[in-house]
Amino acid sequence: MSKFTKKKSSELPAISTASLPDIVFMLLFFFMVATVMRENTLKVQNQLPFADQVEKLEKKDLVMYIFAGKPSARYQSSVGSEARIQLNDNFASVSEIQAFIYAEREAKREELVPFLTTALKVDKETNMGLVSDIKKELRKAEALKINYTTRTGDVSQNFE
């Protein structure tokens, strides 16, 4: 009758890992499709303000980014704590904005140039003086479409 007695194994069988590559590949493809490459390394503090009447910036390739804010802690010893502008990966002065806009335009196809938007990513503690200077330069360069990039949330959070 030993035919009918089940062989009892004392340990649990190991979980099959045969499907693991499939799962990981699925995750990989999800991230490859849903994300974009990080373009700039931030050298300034960038706590964006909050707003709730926002529009989404579609078409990431048609956006030029201008960052502004106080330099991050590790750069403060070399460039000071005064709010600065960052273009691409470097600190820049106000006068370099026009050249930056022209360079960005040059890199885009001609028919896309009118759709270029400038996204201003400015730290909420920055003074408006710097922002006004940036806007003035943008007007000179005729980059009139701008977007004040914000986080979505109630405006009262701007005063904390």
Binding site: T17, L20, P21, V24, F25, L27, L28, F31, M32, A34, T35, V36, M37, R38, P49, F50, A51, D52, Q53, V54, E55, K56, L57, K60, V63, T117, A119, V122, D123, K124, E125, T126, N127, M128, G129, V131, S132, K135, K136, L138, R139, K140, E142, A143, L144, K145, I146, N147, Y148, T149, T150, T152, V155, S156, N158, F159
Partner: protein, 188 residues
């Protein structure tokens, strides 16, 4: 196999970002020639908002809290005290003779100091844009039974079943009724 996939996965996790940007879109005025006369707008059609270096708000020469700005702007835009050619038949405001004539003429003027913090400035901008959106929503609701936001969302939705051309015309019509005339004075 799994190791390679994990490696790639971690690489993508580290080097990519997911956030999509959103914010308040504005159009800057083009540079002006030195000798151009500014257009003459009557005092009553200008809604002055001044933010000083201490982030205090002065709206129409009165100190105001940020939370009251939206309603004040709505009251100003919606006033519609005009008669004859300036009459505004869709305004529901108080028709105060000292306030705006018609939303098509009314201008909001925002000026700031160099010392104003950016957070405050954005908060004020947000409230003023909100005022326009509230009024546009109201008119859209009345005329077409849906909010202006919904109309814009429908317009960019590729699966929208209705006629896009009429929708575009309707959106344009409402934009025309409540044009965003938000001027930013710059002191140079």
């Amino acid at each position: 196999m799994a190791d390679i996939a994990f490696l790639l996965l971690i690489f993508f996790l580290v080097t990519t970002t997911m956030e999509s940007d959103s914010g308040i879109s504005r159009k800057l005025p083009p540079m002006q020639e030195e000798n151009v006369e500014p257009p003459i707008i009557k005092e009553r059609n200008i809604f002055k908002v001044i933010v000083n270096a201490n982030d205090e708000l002065l709206v129409e020469d009165e100190l105001m809290e940020l939370k009251d700005v939206r309603q004040a702007a709505i009251d100003f835009l919606d006033n519609g005290a005009g008669v004859g050619p300036d009459a505004c038949d869709y305004c529901q405001g108080a028709k105060d003779p000292n306030s705006s004539v018609n939303p098509k003429i009314a201008v909001i003027m925002l000026s700031n100091d160099r010392g104003t913090t950016y957070g405050t400035y954005i908060a004020v901008q947000n409230e003023l844009v909100a005022a326009y959106n509230v009024l546009r929503d109201r008119t859209a609701q009345q005329k077409y039974g849906k909010s202006f936001k919904q109309m814009e969302a429908d317009y960019s939705d590729v699966t929208y079943p209705g006629n896009k051309e009429t929708l575009e015309a309707q959106i344009e019509e409402i934009r025309d009724m409540w044009p965003q005339k938000l001027s930013e004075a710059d002191k140079g």
